[in-house]
């Protein structure tokens, strides 16, 4: 086995070994293949779902200048679980909260850091 596979296995093992520090969430993936100018809507692919583990690093409730409160949650997860991601993908936690994945993903090729947002 090459080094890449070795590291991916070690990352998966690490996420298993942290126990309930890792949340089991549902990743819903879809993509926009094109835009239909007549219907005035994006042409979306079918949604696929997968169960993945994430570790929450940080939670915030930023208030915008006009007083609107939102929630952000910074999480990490193995890249092998989810790559590639796009702006249409969402993550659902066990409490039913659906979070949007903000663009600008940071990855070292093995673990990806995601910033999730949702309205309060």
């Amino acid at each position: 086995m090459g080094y890449r596979g070795l590291i991916n296995r070690a990352v998966k093992s690490a996420f298993r070994s942290v126990g309930d520090l890792a949340f089991e969430v549902t990743l819903s993936k879809k993509d926009a293949s094109s835009f239909d100018f007549i219907a005035n809507e994006a042409v979306m692919t079918a949604t696929t779902t997968a169960s993945i583990k994430v570790v929450v690093l940080k939670e915030d409730e930023p208030v915008s200048a006009d007083g609107v409160t939102s929630k952000t949650r910074t999480v990490i997860t193995p890249v092998a679980n989810i790559d590639p991601l796009n702006i249409y993908d969402t993550i659902t936690f066990s409490d039913g909260g659906v979070w949007t994945i903000t663009p600008g993903f940071e990855s070292d090729g093995y673990v990806i850091t995601l910033i999730l947002t949702k309205g309060v």
Binding site: A32, F35, F37, I38, Y88
Partner: protein, 134 residues
């Protein structure tokens, strides 16, 4: 539905069979997709000067089209797209569903490297319009 009619009217061009045959990948604002084409355009409508003198509703404004082409190959690919756009827009009218959009003459400005993707060079094509609907 003044603004909805305006968008429908202008978008009808980019959804038309004639424009699709031009093979210029076209996206609206607030659309995120992975473009597989070497060149593409992004369409934005800047509406201003809305008037409502019943029964006529009018909106003037500018159609702003960002043209993305590969960096380092000169402006020709962008100029060719701008000329295609001019063929459909400059001095022309779009009519649909009881509303009409009249375009005047266009301008083309080179903006240089794309701030988010240095492998792309950007030109801005813009053209004023007046839109009338009932």
């Amino acid at each position: 539905m003044k603004y909805a009619d305006l968008y429908k009217n202008i978008y009808s061009l980019f959804g038309s069979a004639e424009w699709i045959l031009e093979s210029v990948k076209t996206y609206p604002s607030n659309f995120t997709g992975v473009s597989t084409a070497a060149s593409y355009i992004r369409v934005a409508i800047v509406a201003s000067g809305a008037n409502e003198v019943r029964p006529l509703k009018s909106v003037s404004g500018q159609l702003v089209i960002s043209i993305f082409i590969p960096s380092g190959q000169g402006p020709n690919a962008g100029i060719a797209i701008a000329d295609k756009l001019d063929g459909y827009l400059s001095g022309k009218s779009l009519v649909s569903g009881g509303s009409v959009t009249q375009f005047s003459s266009s301008t083309l400005i080179e903006l240089g490297r794309d701030r988010d993707n240095a492998s792309l060079h950007v030109l801005k094509y813009s053209i004023d319009f007046s839109h009338y609907g009932v």
